[in-house]
Symmetry: C2
């Protein structure tokens, strides 16, 4: 556990998710998230010239792609960076799919973040897609393992859906490493709203890692 | 089961995902997906003026938002439409988070789709995020229930990760309803590549539904 002993240990940075920059690519990604949400909200039949919108977005994509590295170069660069991932689809400030969720480590060994999800994350009417809850929890359990000190890859994940998870309300997402037994790591987590659990997760992780691209 | 008896039953449309339109909002959403992928591939330090990109994307979002209905109006409209969802984060042509996966029903009662995922869907280096696999499978199991004739909400979902799931390779995603016992529906599915299973899923669904917005 990374629980610091305040008398002897140096302070440990509890931020487990990358802080978005206010400019550069992170700001462009934040704007792209606005576009995704606005496209879904507005849709056809609204009087917006969607063909013109498509053209503008294609122009932006073309301009970015002109200067893009190869996938191999980019993979090498993104995994060479020290510290916390910036590119994942849950917390990554460089990833437009990410809400993003920002996770913090706590002194009791658990981690926590709060996130509010909009229309792109919808499953049942007005509620979060069960698979989106699974995505948030799989990632949070993985980060909880990092905070716990022994991380690995998901081997098994069980989700229990106790009640529908609402869109447009602050969701608390938590994770906690329960045990490490050899290479087997057990981790739990949940998504709750106003103190009531909506989805719980139990994960078995194996302490092995894919090689980082050279 | 929806398995048609060819002698007596009318042909059943096996398309279980909405077909994207080549223009309008669907084309704009397809372009927005290109932007998300290109932003992550290109990133800072590439020589692209990311602040200008952010401005252009914010302009697009503003233009869309000006004509947007309220969330309540939009929810009412999107759920009033007959047939297959167009807005979900897995198959929805109106949702920029969706890869999108396109699912087809088969005569044996199962369903199947093929999708290739890029960098935004990454977890371990060069491989699909475990939570993204969970998202695809939760959704596919739900659609398999629809094809099976009795659908419901996810109550429990167990995912087993057998081997890493690669990015940039065609993934086959399948689902099949196994049993319906009162309100309890059991459904299985998997993601495979070149005939080898990478992730399997078992779900318990309950035959109840949230009310559609009026």
């Amino acid at each position: 556990m990374n629980t610091p002993d305040e008398n002897t240990a140096p302070a440990i940075d509890p931020r487990l998710s990358a802080e978005p920059n206010k400019d550069g690519a992170d700001a462009a990604v934040a704007a792209a998230r606005r576009v995704i949400a606005a496209l879904l909200l507005t849709g056809d039949g609204s009087g917006v010239d969607m063909d013109a919108i498509a053209d503008r977005l294609d122009e932006v994509a073309d301009r970015l792609t002109e200067k893009a590295p190869t996938v191999e170069e980019r993979l090498s660069r993104m995994w060479r960076a020290e510290g916390i991932n910036r590119h994942d689809p849950v917390t990554g400030p460089e990833n437009g799919l990410a809400p993003p969720l920002s996770l913090q480590g706590k002194d009791d060994g658990s981690i926590e973040g709060v996130v509010t999800l909009g229309l792109p994350y919808q499953g049942p009417p007005g509620h979060v897609h069960g698979g989106i809850s699974a995505l948030l929890l799989d990632h949070t359990l993985g980060v909880a393992n990092h905070w716990g000190g022994t991380s690995g890859m998901t081997a098994e994940l069980t989700l229990r859906y106790l009640r529908p998870t609402p869109l447009f309300e602050p969701l608390t997402v938590t994770g906690r490493q329960v045990s490490v037994d050899g290479s087997r790591i057990r981790t739990v987590g949940e998504i709750s709203v106003s103190g009531r659990a909506c989805v719980t997760a139990e994960g078995l992780f194996i302490n092995k890692h894919l090689p980082r691209p050279s």
